[in-house]
Structure formats: structure tokens, C-alpha cells
């Protein structure tokens, strides 16, 4: 069998090293390189990337040095302390608690929930959509009825009810509660693309090459819809920051002793705070706006990197 090929080709084992080196020189750059050159071509996105990474690292590390229970203690002497003072950089709220410290711990909580929620719900949604779209037929039918049932449940109401039933909940349980409901949009999106992708000839070619179904789904089809997955993940990350924030704002998110971006923004419920004590809510609001903008810039670059025809980076 191997002799058969040797007979009809001049290439032998001796040439292997030389030829693979030659091929290496002509190789197409790796995905990481492509993404990096794409970032270099887009200055605002580069800045956005540094803002996001720097900020997340800062709040994750910074929160470790803050004693949260102590920070949340009421200090009547610092009642609505003015900002830009040595002790209170961003002032204090009605409980005399430092806004700056609350912002760091609150960002850690909110971003942590958003990251956890994005990872869990997107992973589940992507798997659900890929499997449903690839196998089609009865499997698809069954999985889509489950999806329809989940869609039918009123999401916000269910979350509020679950939050009130569960006695001791924290950011981890909250993340899981959110995850039950937030995989649906992703799964429909991925399913519709998978349906189209599974009809293509390269899938048929993989099947005639003896590749198993699971390998085809996750190694052949998934890389081909990666641009869709990346865009969906970045957008849902930005959206998920809002999910926790919104629910905490309504008072059903994290417990009141756990600061989050949502609880800080809910300071704006009080007209006094809006007019006089702007420092209690404005920093958190600005942070959310800047973070979401930055994430969507980064998402755009990733999408361009995944689609060869949209690239702006230098081709090398």
C-alpha cells in the first residue's frame, strides 16, 4: 500500500524535513497573528481592548484588598461626603460608604456574573444549536420543542420568583439561575446557521472520510461558524452586564449587602441623588457605558478577523 504511493511519487522520507520547512515558510499566518494584526489596524479597538483587560484585572485584583463587610458598614460621619477628597476619591453615599471602593467590588461582582453567565449560557446554547441543527429530523424536533417551552416561560418573572424562593443566594447561584434562561437566543441563532452549514459538501466529504458525527459537529462545523459565535458571545457579554445590573436595580439581584453596578445605579432612584449627589450613581453609569462600547469595538475586530473578506489588517 505505502509502496504503491512511493512508486508513483519522487518524494521519499529523505525529503520530508526539507519540504515541510519550505511549506512552513509559505504557511498562512495563524489565527492569533491575524487577530493581532487586525487590532493593530484599528486604533480605537486597540484602546478598547486595553481598557477592558486593564479594568477587569484592576477590579479583580483591587477587590482582593478591600474588606467588603467593613466597607459596607454605615459611617454616619461621612454622610454624602464630597468627592475628590483624600479619604473618599469619589465621595460617599447616604450610608457614608466609599463610592470608589463600592465601585471596585461592585464591578468585580457584576463582571464576574456576566463572564460566568456568558460562558455557561453560550456554551450550552452553542452545543444545543449545533446538535439540533446537525442531526435534524426527530432529534431537532424534540430539542426545538424544549426550546419553545423555555421561550414560553416569562423570564424576568421566573428569575424574580426563583431568587425569592432560594434562601441563601449569592453571585454564584444567581449566575446559575440566569443561565437557565439565557441560552435560548444563542441556540436558535446557531441552529439556523448549522442547518445551512450541514448541507455543504465538506460535511459530506468528512462523512465519506469516516469522521464521526461529534467530530464533524465540533471540529468541522463549529470553526466555520466561529465568526457568528464570537460576535454573539461579545454582544451577549455586554448584554449580560446589563442583565444583572437591571435586576439589582429592581431590587431582585444580589443581596443588599453585596455591592454591584446595579445597586449603585439604583441610587439614582432618589431625585435628591440625581440633582445634588451625582457622585453616587454617575461613575457606575459611565462605567457601564464605556465597558459596553469597548466590548462592541473588540467584538467587531474579532468578527473581521474571522472573515477574510472584511479584514483591514496588513496581509503578510
Amino acid at each position: 500500500m505505502a509502496e504503491n504511493f512511493e512508486q508513483h511519487s519522487d518524494i521519499s522520507a529523505a525529503d520530508l524535513a526539507r519540504l515541510s520547512q519550505e511549506a512552513q515558510a509559505e504557511a498562512t499566518p495563524s489565527t492569533a497573528k491575524i487577530i493581532w494584526s487586525e487590532f493593530k489596524a484599528d486604533r480605537p479597538a486597540m484602546a478598547a481592548l486595553f481598557i477592558i483587560v486593564g479594568f477587569i484585572v484592576f477590579v479583580m485584583v483591587g477587590a482582593l484588598f478591600i474588606n467588603t463587610p467593613k466597607m459596607m458598614e454605615t459611617n454616619i460621619m461621612a454622610y454624602f461626603n464630597q468627592p475628590f477628597t483624600p479619604e473618599f476619591w469619589l465621595g460617599a453615599d447616604s450610608g457614608g460608604r466609599s463610592v470608589a471602593k463600592q465601585l471596585i467590588v461592585g464591578s468585580r461582582n457584576s463582571i464576574g456574573i456576566a463572564i460566568g453567565l456568558t460562558i455557561i449560557s453560550s456554551t450550552f446554547g452553542i452545543c444545543w444549536g449545533l446538535i439540533s441543527g446537525y442531526f435534524n429530523g426527530y432529534i431537532d424536533w424534540g430539542m426545538q420543542r424544549v426550546y419553545d417551552f423555555m421561550m414560553m416561560l416569562p423570564m424576568t418573572m421566573m428569575i424574580i420568583v426563583l431568587v425569592t424562593i432560594i434562601p441563601h443566594y449569592n453571585s454564584v447561584t444567581l449566575t446559575f439561575i440566569f443561565s437557565i434562561f439565557y441560552w435560548e437566543g444563542t441556540s436558535r441563532l446557531i441552529r439556523s446557521r448549522t442547518l445551512a452549514e450541514a448541507e455543504k459538501d465538506y460535511v459530506a466529504a468528512s462523512r465519506t472520510s469516516g469522521t464521526s458525527h461529534w467530530k464533524i459537529i465540533f471540529r468541522e462545523i463549529m470553526p466555520n461558524i466561529s465568526s457568528l459565535i464570537i460576535v454573539d458571545c461579545t454582544l451577549s457579554f455586554a448584554e449580560n452586564i446589563g442583565v444583572e445590573t437591571g435586576l439589582s436595580y429592581l431590587g431582585f439581584g444580589l443581596p443588599s449587602q453585596t455591592p454591584s453596578l446595579g445597586t449603585m445605579i439604583s441610587n439614582a432612584n432618589d431625585p435628591n441623588n440625581i440633582t445634588q449627589y451625582w457622585w453616587t450613581w454617575l461613575p457606575a453609569a459611565l462605567e457601564i457605558i464605556i465597558l459596553c462600547l469597548a466590548i462592541s469595538y473588540v467584538g467587531q475586530v474579532l468578527r473581521r478577523a474571522a472573515d477574510a473578506s472584511q479584514r483591514q489588517g496588513a496581509a503578510d
Partner: protein, 324 residues
């Protein structure tokens, strides 16, 4: 014994209608066809779009769910998935697709694409595998630079040659070539076809060559089957089909081959119109009451046509063919 024996193969797609989504009718894409492919030969399957030739090819390679009938390989019916798995069937039967771009995964490097069947069926060491891929690239006339490139960096002809290399990788006995060159321009068509012929000579592979281009089929095939509306209408050697066509559908296909000789333009036009006139006037003679082809009738040892016995005899004597 033939390499592959196809017996009364049927592929029907259900049509569901009404409130309960019941099966009310079916599209008969392939409706009872029987033929054999011999080892080392190129078998041509010709017909218009929608005549079921691609469906036949996909059934043979195991991509299509067969409604009834059997396909025998080494005495086993490979329409059943478990038999295919037991035999490592796709190691011996591979496919070349029509659209070279969509048949190569755009996210995989050429090395991974060609090595895919090797990884599943042969389990070579890393170096042996890379060597085999390089040899395959060499056989289809591509440089070693191609190894780490992506499909979109190649021209259509090069891509189709990569498809050929992948199909040959496990040294199969039969390759289903589903219109392998119809998306390529003429000079590149000849290039790819010649590579396919070269590989056939060197490795003794059989082809099931599916095409609507009778010029290409004449260049490639020894035995030809003409397909129309899911059924075979004529089977024969190259000589039978091109020089003694009996069925009106074959005659129409042959008349449709463009002729470059300008001096005889009028004569060709007249003969085309004559064939078309016969078709219009005598359609009922060539097809049964439902508009479907008759069962095949043997005319000579190699030649069979789908006509009623009496008409087939009459036409055969007209054509001056020797009786079997």
C-alpha cells in the same frame, strides 16, 4: 464478480401535506435502477439535471438513505450502515464532489484536509502521514508549499486536484466522481481529467463518472448508462451509445452536443430539429402511459434500452445492429 452490483435501487423522498403532515406522495428521485461496475473501469452515468444521477452516486458512497433495493460490495449489502462500518467501506469507496470550494473545509489547512481519511482509516505515524500527504500532492501536480495553506488560496483546478488527492489518499477501489469538472473551464477540465486518468492507470481505481457532458464522458468512459426521470433508459459501451443510440432521449442528448464545424451548420441544425420532431410526435411510443421509461430490454450482449420489446427490435434492425 463485479466490484459493485446495484440492484433495483430506489430512493424516494416523501411529500408531506395537510394538517397532520401525512405522507401523501413521494418524489421518485431514483426509481429502480440496476447496473454493475467492474474493477478498473470507468462507468459513465449521464443524464439531465434532476434525473437522479447524483442521488445514485451518493447512495453508492453511503451518503443517501436508500428506500429499497441493494448495493452489493464484497457480497455485503452496503445500504445498511452497520455493514459499511464493518467493511470500512469508505476506505475503499470515496467521492469527488462537483463544487471544489464547498467540498473543502475553508477552515482547515490542505494537510489536514488530505490527511482526514488517513487519520480515520490508516492511523499512520505523524511523519508517515505527512510524507503520504506530500506524495499525494506530488501525484496531483501540486507543490509542497500547499501543505499549510487554506483552500481559498487556490484556483478552481488546483482545488479540484486537492479533492482528487483526498479521494485517492486511502488507495480506494472505487471513486464516485460527481460532475468533477463541470464547474471548471475547458483547459482546466482537461488537466483534471488527465490527472484522474493517470491515477486510474497507476492505482487501478474504478470510477463512477457522473456527468451531463457527453464530450467528457466519451473521453473518460468505456461503459455508459443514460438516466432519465430516475430510471435508466439505455446502457451500452461507448460505441453502442455514441454510434447506435436507440432511445429518443439518448438521441436528443447526442444532438445537443455543440458542433464547432461551421461549414455544416445547416446540416447539424436539420438533424437536431429532426430528432426533436420525432420526440414531439412519438413521445408516447418511447415512454409508458405515466410518462416513465419502460423496463430495460437487452438488444445485444452489451447494449440494453428501455423500450417495449417490439419497438426495440424494430429500431435495432433499422440501426443495423447485430442481434444478440
Amino acid at each position: 464478480m463485479s466490484l459493485i452490483e446495484i440492484k433495483d435501487l430506489k430512493v424516494h423522498y416523501p411529500i408531506r401535506t395537510g394538517f397532520w403532515n401525512r405522507i401523501t406522495d413521494s418524489v421518485r428521485a431514483v426509481d429502480g435502477i440496476t447496473f454493475n461496475i467492474e474493477a478498473g473501469e470507468t462507468y459513465g452515468l449521464v443524464g439531465e439535471s434532476g434525473s437522479g444521477k447524483s442521488t445514485t452516486g451518493k447512495s453508492v458512497v453511503g451518503l443517501e438513505k436508500v428506500t429499497s433495493g441493494s448495493i452489493l460490495y464484497k457480497g455485503q449489502d452496503i445500504t445498511k450502515a452497520e455493514n459499511r462500518r464493518k467493511l470500512d467501506y469508505n476506505r475503499d469507496v470515496q467521492m469527488i464532489f462537483q463544487d471544489s470550494l464547498s467540498s473543502l473545509n475553508p477552515r482547515k489547512r490542505i494537510e489536514d484536509i488530505i490527511a482526514e481519511p488517513l487519520r480515520n482509516f490508516e492511523h499512520l505515524s505523524k511523519d508517515d502521514e505527512k510524507l503520504r500527504v506530500l506524495q499525494l500532492l506530488d501525484i496531483v501536480g501540486l507543490d509542497a508549499d500547499a501543505l499549510y495553506k487554506y483552500p481559498h488560496q487556490f484556483s478552481g483546478g488546483q482545488r479540484q486536484r486537492i479533492g482528487v488527492a483526498r479521494a485517492v489518499a486511502t488507495n480506494p477501489k472505487l471513486i464516485i466522481a460527481d460532475e468533477p469538472v463541470s464547474a471548471l473551464d475547458l483547459s482546466v477540465q482537461a488537466q483534471v481529467l488527465n490527472f484522474m486518468k493517470k491515477i486510474q492507470r497507476e492505482f487501478g481505481i474504478s470510477y463512477l463518472f457522473i456527468s451531463h457532458d457527453l464530450g467528457v464522458v466519451r473521453h473518460m468512459c468505456n461503459n455508459i448508462a443514460i438516466m432519465n426521470r430516475g430510471r435508466l433508459v439505455e446502457i451500452g459501451t461507448r460505441d453502442d451509445i455514441y454510434n447506435h443510440p436507440l432511445h429518443i432521449y439518448t438521441k436528443r442528448l447526442l444532438a445537443a452536443i455543440p458542433e464547432t464545424n461551421v461549414n455544416q451548420r445547416e446540416a447539424h441544425r436539420a438533424s437536431r430539429l429532426a430528432v426533436e420532431k420525432v420526440y414531439q410526435e412519438q413521445q408516447s411510443k418511447y415512454y409508458d402511459d405515466d410518462g416513465e421509461a419502460y423496463p430495460l430490454v437487452q438488444i445485444s450482449k452489451t447494449h440494453a434500452v428501455a423500450l417495449p420489446q417490439a419497438l426495440a427490435q424494430q429500431l435495432a434492425t433499422q440501426e443495423g445492429e447485430v442481434q444478440a
